[in-house]
Structure formats: structure tokens, C-alpha cells
């Protein structure tokens, strides 16, 4: 078909941050893919352009909101994020390494889990609901200060078993349509599935501002939608399964730049 290929285009945000949108596949996926590609390459000209300038990127409005929350004291300890972490620029590079093994907790944590740990254990504030507005806005703010840095999640050591669970989930054909993530995003990226141009389903661009629902969308919510579309019983955002799947899918994009908040349709 006419749009069956990822475009040949370069993403530079604010004429400043060069984004790696395609690169050699990391070793642990080289049996399946030669190259890994950002979903940005599969979107139309106008959607791509919106992401090149923060004034045109509607996701940045939510980042602004999160920056206010960053400065706002909350909870029984009367502390804000800024009270401990200073300027949010101190978080540059953090997003690129999540999900990540947390030694003290003995679990793989997504960025949202880590933020909630700070909220509940250090601020005495309530945890944010997974992928809810506050949580996803803060994730977007944390992503925005890592833009252009290479995704680099660790898949070995104590994270390995979660990574393996995620891999198994990625290749399992679920639901009445018996489709796996790989059926659509590995075997058929670049193809049209009805009106949708299939990308590799990478998550380096998350959180994603979608023109379709005009808000920021989290990784787990996207997973949920894709699993639901196989006519399956989905897992819930924040579940151990989706944490593992996030780790695995993130690792498939090791080497791509952090792009969030990105713009998609």
C-alpha cells in the first residue's frame, strides 16, 4: 500500500534535541528485528511535526501541570518533590532506565511505582492511581527531561525473571482472535491493519498524547487496549504482568531515544 513504509525523516525537538528514531536492534532482539524504530516514523506528516516543537506538542501542557505539582507540598510530611529533588532537571536520564529493579523493595518498578513510593513513604501522601492524570502527567514531566537520551533498561541480574515473563506475554497469542503483540508489531509493522498503520509498538515515546482522546496515555493503558482488541480478558494497569511486559517492551527499544511526551493519533 501507499503508506506501507516508515518514513525517512529526522526528529529534532525544538531545533535542539536530536531524537534517535531508528537504530540497530539490541542484541536480545536481533533474532527478530534488524532495526528498531520509534512509532513516530509511522505517523503522518502533521502528527510528526507537532512533536518537533514544544509549543505545538499538546502533551507539554500536561508537563506544565506536573511541574506545578512538582513544587507543591503534599501529605503529612509537608514536602514537595522539589524539596528533596530540587529542580526536575536533576531527573535527567532517570526515565531512560525504567522499569528498573529496586533492591530494597525486591521488585521491578516502573517510574509510576517509584513516584508512588516517594509519595506514600516519604511525603505521607496518597498514591496516585495507575495511569491516572496526575501520575501520567508526572511521568511525562520526568520523560521530558530525558528526551534524546538512549533508552537503556537492564534486563539481566535480578530483573531477568520479570523480563522473561514479559517476553512470554509478548509472544502469547491471546483472546478469541489469538493474536500476540508480535503478530502485529514484529511480523507486520509497516502494514495497514484496516485503517491503522502498524508500528513496532515501541514505548520510547510514552507517555503519548493521542489526538484520538486528547490526553496523555500510559504504557499500561495502551497495552490494555491492544490486548482488549484481541478479544481477550486484559490485565490491569499496574499489574505484575504489565510491569513485566513494560520492562520487556522497553528493552526492545534500548538504543532509541526517550521521546515522551510524544504525539500519536
Amino acid at each position: 500500500g501507499a503508506f506501507a513504509e516508515p518514513v525517512d525523516d529526522q526528529l529534532v525537538v525544538n531545533e535542539d534535541i536530536s531524537i534517535v528514531t531508528r537504530t540497530a536492534a539490541p542484541a536480545h532482539v536481533s533474532d527478530a528485528l534488524d532495526e528498531v524504530m520509534s512509532g513516530w516514523l509511522f505517523r503522518g506528516t502533521e502528527t510528526r511535526a507537532m512533536q518537533a516543537d514544544d509549543f505545538d506538542n499538546p502533551g507539554m501542557i500536561f508537563v506544565e501541570q506536573a511541574l506545578e505539582v512538582w513544587e507543591t507540598a503534599e501529605g503529612t510530611e509537608g514536602k514537595s518533590c522539589a524539596a528533596c529533588h530540587n529542580d526536575i532537571d536533576s531527573m535527567a536520564g532517570v526515565k531512560a532506565t525504567y522499569p528498573k529493579w529496586n533492591e530494597a523493595a525486591g521488585e521491578v518498578r516502573t517510574l509510576q511505582m517509584q513516584v508512588n513510593d516517594c509519595r506514600t513513604n516519604r511525603m505521607g501522601a496518597e498514591a496516585w492511581k495507575y495511569d491516572s492524570g496526575d501520575a501520567i502527567n508526572m511521568e511525562a514531566a520526568l520523560a521530558s527531561v530525558s528526551r534524546g537520551m538512549p533508552v537503556n533498561v537492564a534486563i539481566d541480574g535480578p530483573a531477568q525473571s520479570a523480563w522473561e515473563l514479559g517476553k512470554e506475554l509478548y509472544y502469547t497469542r491471546t483472546g478469541q482472535l489469538e493474536l500476540s503483540c508480535s503478530n502485529c508489531h514484529e511480523d507486520n509493522y509497516g502494514m495497514m491493519i484496516r485503517a491503522d498503520h502498524l508500528s513496532q509498538g515501541q514505548i520510547n515515546g510514552f507517555p503519548v498524547y493521542r489526538l484520538k482522546n486528547t490526553k496523555l496515555n500510559g504504557v499500561h493503558s495502551r497495552f490494555k487496549g491492544c490486548v482488549r482488541d484481541t478479544r481477550a480478558e486484559t490485565y490491569s494497569p499496574g499489574s505484575a504482568e504489565f510491569v513485566a511486559l513494560e520492562l520487556y517492551v522497553a528493552s526492545r527499544g534500548n538504543g532509541l531515544s526517550v521521546e515522551g511526551p510524544s504525539v500519536r493519533n
Partner: protein, 157 residues
Amino acid sequence: MRISVILASLVGLAGSGALAEEVAPTAVSFNEGAVEQSLTGVPGDPANGRLIVGDKGQGNCVACHQVSDLADVPWHGEIGPMLDGTADRWSEAELRGIVVNAKIMFEDSMMPSFYKTEGFIRPGNAYTGKAADETFGPLLSAQQVEDVVAYLTTLKE
């Protein structure tokens, strides 16, 4: 005596045909991926089959296949082969087998099985994301499959 028994059983067969007794999804018999026997005994309606193939809420076959005859339906996918001329490539029985359960003809095919009710991992209740309940049935009814097959047999180059 013997003749009357045979006659009686023939009458019985004809009777079941007239009552359009369906072959259950779990009772379909395949021969090298093909299904010889009609699932209903009632001839398929190609016009309705054409609608099912193009309709998002029914077969949604165009999600993955292009069909020139359905040019009026927007957005055809590119996952599977173009269905133009498929009747020149496959017999009616083979087409029925492909629609019922394509994975028997094409190992590990991405094509969903449209007349199957067992063997799924985490089957859901349609597109709700919730678990399947007692209303769970095949993607297409037996007669819808026959209608689709009747339509496919018209797709000659």
C-alpha cells in the same frame, strides 16, 4: 425389513437437512484443512456474505485483506493476501475450512478462527476486556460462515 430400515434412515437424514441442523463448532471435521460438509445444509447467501466480509462488527475480513469487489468499503488492510481470485485458488470446501479455522490449512496463521469456541488463552467478552461469560460463541454463526463461503466462491479473476 432391511430395505425399510435403510429407507427410514435416509428419511431421517433428509429430515435433519430440512431442519437445518447445525454442525457445532466442536464437531467440524477437517480433511487436510478443508471442510466438505456445509455447516447448516442451507445454501449460503453471497450478498450477505459480502456484507459480513466488509463489516467491522462482523467478519471484518478487510481488516487484513484487500478485496477489489469491496472498493466501496473504506480501508482494507494488508496483512493477508488479496482475496481477488481466491475462488480460482481454493475449492468451496477449502474456503470453508479456511474461514472455520485457517490454522489447520496454514500452520500458525495470523488469521483468526471464525468458527471455534475452545482452546483460547484468556478469552474475553467481545471487545470489553472482561473475561468471557456464558454468552461466549464463535466469531461467526454457522450460517454466517456459509454466507461468507458463498461470497468467496464468487471471487474469480
